[in-house]
């Protein structure tokens, strides 16, 4: 086991797959010479060359469109959209083209594209550079959606996403880039559609994603001091969604909390709450509670951004208040 930062794990995961599959190429803005504006792709140009690691003009539609075109001929492509906010700039390619190609060709055409993008708040970048938009992509039939919270998962889920024949949107969280963690030395390939129980517990279930996972874990430790034993699930993959892990946990604990960074309306936790209401209603001892960012863009001001995004304090207090 080596220790790697989440940031370096991005390049490590991509490199692992580029070594394995010589067809795999990558394109995006400032990813090659500069190694990415978040330095997540450092070293890839040197190892794999400019034909495989390609800087593009500032053309998000062309990045996704060209990736899709190449992918339809069987070449797997990693396409980077610098900030997830700019998925909106190229949404047609994502929502109407990539997502529907298989369906509209009766399964003949597959689109092995991974759309990597820096997601989430905490960097004081303001309303148009901080959003958590995983729910934008979760709602599109035809896309798969992944958002890892640890360096090992970055590598393992990256590999799984690249090897998956369908379009996968891969959300890298800006506020996790500096976080370090153990990663396997050998080739590491995980599975899409699997959640992980990060902390077993018996009193309630807290389902969280990406940056919200370490916060939920910290909140769980605080709750433990107050005699509340929370189980924390890292959802990891929104599409496919590992409902059995979530439902199994709720069957055990009887209470569910979701911790979501996305704005409240139609956040991913709303879907989880709906599934649990549908399939585990009689397991529940109380209402499903969603802890989310309010339905607002993220403020650029430090204090306000911290107020808006669910904090350890807010998670712990909400859980304690609801169980209490």
């Amino acid at each position: 086991m080596a220790e790697l930062s989440y940031r370096d794990a991005v390049a490590a995961g991509i490199a692992q797959e580029m070594r394995r599959d010589p067809r795999l190429v990558m394109l995006g803005e400032d990813i090659a010479g500069a190694g990415g504006v978040f330095k997540t792709t450092v070293g890839l140009l040197d190892e794999f060359g400019a034909d495989r690691v390609r800087d593009t003009p500032i053309s998000e539609q062309a990045i996704l469109g060209a990736a899709m075109g190449a992918a339809m001929t069987g070449i797997p492509v990693i396409a980077e959209i610098m900030f997830s906010d700019f998925l909106a700039v190229c949404f047609d390619l994502l929502a109407n083209e990539m997502a529907k190609a298989s369906y509209m060709t009766a399964g003949q055409v597959t689109v092995p594209v991974v759309v990597r993008t820096a997601n989430g708040g905490g960097s004081r970048f303001g309303a148009q550079h901080s959003q958590s938009v995983e729910n934008w992509t979760m709602m599109i039939p035809g896309l798969k959606v992944v958002a890892p919270s640890t360096p090992a998962d970055v590598i393992g889920l990256m590999a799984a996403a690249i090897r998956d024949p369908d379009p996968v949107v891969f959300f890298e969280h800006k506020s996790l880039f500096a976080v370090k963690g153990e990663v396997p030395d050998a080739e590491h390939v995980d599975r899409l559609g699997t959640a992980v129980v990060r902390r077993p517990g018996t009193d309630c279930t807290i389902a969280a994603l990406a940056l919200m996972v370490p916060r939920a874990l910290e909140a769980a430790e605080r709750l433990a001091a107050d005699g509340i034993d929370a189980e924390v699930i890292d959802v990891r993959s929104l599409v496919p969604l590992d409902t059995s892990t979530i439902l199994g946990s709720v069957a055990k604990t009887g209470r569910l909390f979701t911790v979501e960074e996305n704005p409240r309306l139609c956040g991913w936790g709303a879907e989880v709450a709906s599934i649990v209401a549908d399939e585990a209603f009689w397991d529940l001892d109380g209402p499903v509670v969603r802890i989310t960012t309010p339905h607002v863009p993220l403020p650029a001001a430090e204090a306000l951004e911290d107020l808006a995004i669910p904090s350890v304090d807010r998670i712990a207090a909400t859980v304690a208040g609801s169980l209490g």
């Binding site: 500032i58 053309s59 309303a127 409240r264 309010p294 403020p299 001001a301 204090a303 306000l304 808006a308």
Partner: protein, 346 residues
């Protein structure tokens, strides 16, 4: 098709052709460039001190911004980007607003009544079409106001550029497209942004006039924009102007250009500093001297201090403010969330 960039002032301060403006006006433009440079240095310094969030310096682009902005009338609109503070300030967008905005306070984006300047666009290319819609609306209202939009070389690769240019030309809206080709878009040089010989060449495909101007020559920029503005005002349609300039500093305060560009290139552009040539010209005309320079720098320093003080005096935002400006007519759902956050207080 490309001709030499239009130039009136050579880098050594020699004037080619007729004086486009009275000397007093040229001194005024030069003074505005001095102010702009002082503010740029101040903002970069404040960012290093942790008093501002990420900042995009415009050092080296003062002639392009001041030259273009000075060719507009008070009733005209400016629709610019994150690197265009000098142009925005000249059009009446207060420096204190620009600084406040960079501290992360959205009230910086609230311009004083009557100032026809949109807040800086952060999404590359997203704003160009606004200048088309604004210009169209002014026509609908029967005014003769013009909208000028500023953007970088990189922004011309966005689909938005194509659609904005085409719309403007088809509608013949009174829009001026002003591209500051500063050589770089973060780490990508212009040569890898476009295979066209010039960005101005792109105008042809839209049925629009395109021209290239020396962007470090404030007089040439002013003249070119003044003409494009009067063409637009006369109802004769939009123009694309490409101002050749250079981004002396990093892309933003978080960027390290050492990773991707040769410092010798930066030095060669410092030789073509946009302020120096106007100053030389004014000095040869007897319209400027050491004392005037000292006074201009002193005044600029005071103006910067006052703007910073004004921005830093604004009381910190309250948590409630997150919700206040969400809608003109608030929704019940959001009011509930406001109440909840207020109650929980965290």
């Amino acid at each position: 098709m490309s001709a030499e960039p239009q130039q009136l002032l050579a880098p050594d301060g020699t004037l080619h052709g007729d004086l486009p403006l009275p000397l007093g006006e040229i001194s005024r433009l030069y003074r505005a460039m001095v102010v702009a440079r002082v503010f740029d240095g101040k903002c970069s310094a404040m960012q290093r001190q942790g008093r501002l969030a990420t900042y995009a310096p415009y050092e080296g682009q003062e002639a392009a911004q001041i030259g273009a902005a000075s060719a507009l009338e008070a009733s005209d609109w400016l629709v610019a980007s994150y690197r265009d503070a000098a142009a925005m300030a000249l059009r009446g967008y207060p420096w204190s607003n620009l600084i406040l905005g960079r501290t992360g306070d959205e009230r910086g984006g609230h311009a004083p009544e009557g100032v026809r300047v949109l807040p800086p666009s952060i999404t590359v290319g997203g704003h160009m079409i606004h200048a088309v819609g604004i210009a169209w609306a002014e026509r609908l209202k029967g005014t003769d106001a013009v909208a000028l939009t500023m953007f970088g070389d990189g922004a011309t690769s966005e689909g938005d550029f194509h659609e904005a240019m085409n719309f403007a030309a088809v509608f013949a809206t009174p829009t001026v497209f002003f591209c500051q080709n500063n050589g770089w878009a973060i780490s990508l040089p212009t040569s890898r942004q476009t295979a066209a010989e010039t960005i101005a060449d792109k105008a042809v495909g839209y049925g629009m006039t395109g021209l290239v101007v020396d962007g470090n020559d404030v007089l040439a920029v002013h003249e070119a924009v003044r003409r494009a503005v009067s063409t637009a005002r006369a109802g004769e349609g939009p123009t694309l102007i490409e101002a050749l300039t250079y981004r002396i500093g990093p892309h933003t305060t978080t960027d390290d250009p050492g990773r991707y560009r040769d410092p010798a290139e930066v030095e060669s552009w410092r030789e073509r500093d946009p302020l120096r040539r106007v100053r030389r010209f004014l000095e040869t005309q007897g319209a400027w001297d050491e004392d005037a320079q000292a006074a201009a720098e002193h005044d600029a320093g005071l103006e910067a201090e006052a703007a910073v003080a004004a921005a830093e005096m604004v009381a910190a935002l309250d948590g409630d403010e997150i919700f206040s400006a969400m809608y003109a007519v608030p929704t019940i759902h959001l009011e509930e969330q406001r109440a909840r956050l207020r109650r929980d207080g965290r």
